[in-house]
Amino acid sequence: MSIRLSQIDKTYGNKGRGSKGRGSKGHGHKDDGRTRALEPIDLDIHDGELIGLLGPSGSGKTTLLRIVAGLEQADGGTIHFGEREVTHVHVRDRRIGFVFQHYALFRHMSVFDNVAFGLTAMPRSQRPSSGEIRTRVMQLLEMVRLQDFAERFPAQLSGGQQQRVSLARALALKPDVLLLDEPFGALDAKVRQELRRWLRHLHEELHFTSLFVTHDQEEALELSDRVVVMSNGRVEQIATPDTLYRQPANRFVFEFLGDVNRLEGDIEDEVLTCGNARVAVPGVEDGRRELLLRPHEIRLDDQPGPRAHLPVSVTAVVPVGAEVRIELEADWLGEPWLATISHADFERLAITRGKRLYAQPSRLHRFDTPRPQTLAPLSIS
């Protein structure tokens, strides 16, 4: 089922947030002391799509999700599930499945009863027979690979298992839309990875339309068909993970999606100077500018290149994983740079802490122009 949001916005009054005030923190302030949680937002989600809402805390992503769920009301705008308008439909009639960050399992009920809750809560006339409920619940538990745990209580399960129960519970009523609020946020890294892969499989198998909130870039990029990047109640960019990474719409998206190194200096005749560092920047006007680059866009060498003279010294080396992560410092740098290089380069240059090297940017990005620009290629190999 497709989801269509148009012009959804939300402003919190000073008091109107209720004693529980969950879901949203921070946000930009409006002049009258009220807090703008969401600028008017339009969003089209296609049938069967898996969409990630990504943003730092306080960006309004959870508020948006809760508005789609009907747990909070928007101030204006409309929400359609397929052709059905649900803007003012109560949460219990919206036919959504919701997975909470902290599972929100009913701790006094067995796993079986938790999953069966939605089915047993139906009015008597629509409720399936207890035999049917049993079959369905066991099916769901099998799907989340917890069929042997049906009689256990939530407290007897690990976090990952509890979240799987909560997923089975949400799917029990065959919802039109599955909404997940930081579903893996409370789990440790390994379980998280496993559950992510598993959710991806489940989604491919069942093809539900799904919207999930996360503050973890990797998670969003790995799971989503498209990612909605949000900050301060605004949508910064909606794109596929690939586009998002390669063509960030603005500086916020660029910085949020990965590690970023900053280079600030005065440009004269297409050369940027900063202390004793110099680098050619073809096509950039004179003046003081800031340029950004990713860790993998730095090459290291023991001699300055013809177009870049950026002397740095190594302060830390992490030789774990596919690449070697190296921290670089120099007196012309405000904050240290992070570079990732291949193990081959690492061995060739015999890098140790304190070694002096020259950095050569292969690309530089600038976001002070109306459209982001990339300067490449810069290095001569």
């Binding site: 219990r92 701790r107 209580f153 939530p154």
Partner: protein, 284 residues
Amino acid sequence: MIAQALTRRRERRVLPGFGLSLGVSLTFVSLVLLLPLTSLVGQLSQLSWSQYWFLITDPRLLASYTVTLLAAAVAALFNAVFGLLMAWVLVRYEFPGKRLVDALMDLPFALPTAVAGITLATLYSSNGWIGRLLEPLGISVSYTWIGIALAMAFTSIPFVVRTVQPVLEDLPAEVDEAAMTLGASDGLAFRRVILPYLWPALVTGTGLAFVRSLGEFGAVIFIAGGKPYETEITSLMIFVKLQEYDYAGASAVASIVLATSLALLLAINLWQGRFIKRLHGGRG
């Protein structure tokens, strides 16, 4: 060797002050709780078993047991319902004067029970403010068991409110939101999700209120009237026996009240322990 033994002994407890704090606590418990109890047992020892049995099965006393138990049960049930409602209102909603209402909840604890009794008796007597309104309806509160239950409910309602309130505050909002996303109506969500959460606290609070009501004296005697066989409560019987200098008899009745209360408190504790154990999946 000795040095080793000493260090090992010192390592056994990390938190300091165990010996001192336990010692002071035990002394205090002995002085305030156990010593009076000993004197009670001392008084009882003057009686033979048959005398004891004869005293505690006196028909007038048996009638007082019934009155006390029934009134306390009604009061406890009343408090279970209204205490839960009070706690619910105080936790779930924001309204002007909320803090004042919250503070008022403790008033029955702060108010001398005799004052409460006199006030209630005046209000509900046939020419009191409320009694005058109830009189034409054929309901008389003062000098009936209804009045006794009322006085008991008044003095014991904080037990329910104050035990349920913190548990309700801890109840994550996500839990009833989860029930709603699963299509549960408000009533169903309350019955199947919220009430089971509160159940241990509610039962404990109600149990405490009941035990407290069993021994209530000050608030009740003014409104009860003390008609033998009808509105005499057990604690009043103790008082009557004391006034007759029948210390042994008073002790006998007191031992019954004490035993009942202790048994109930113990039962509540055991039940609660089992319930909580189940919630934590048998892991304590």
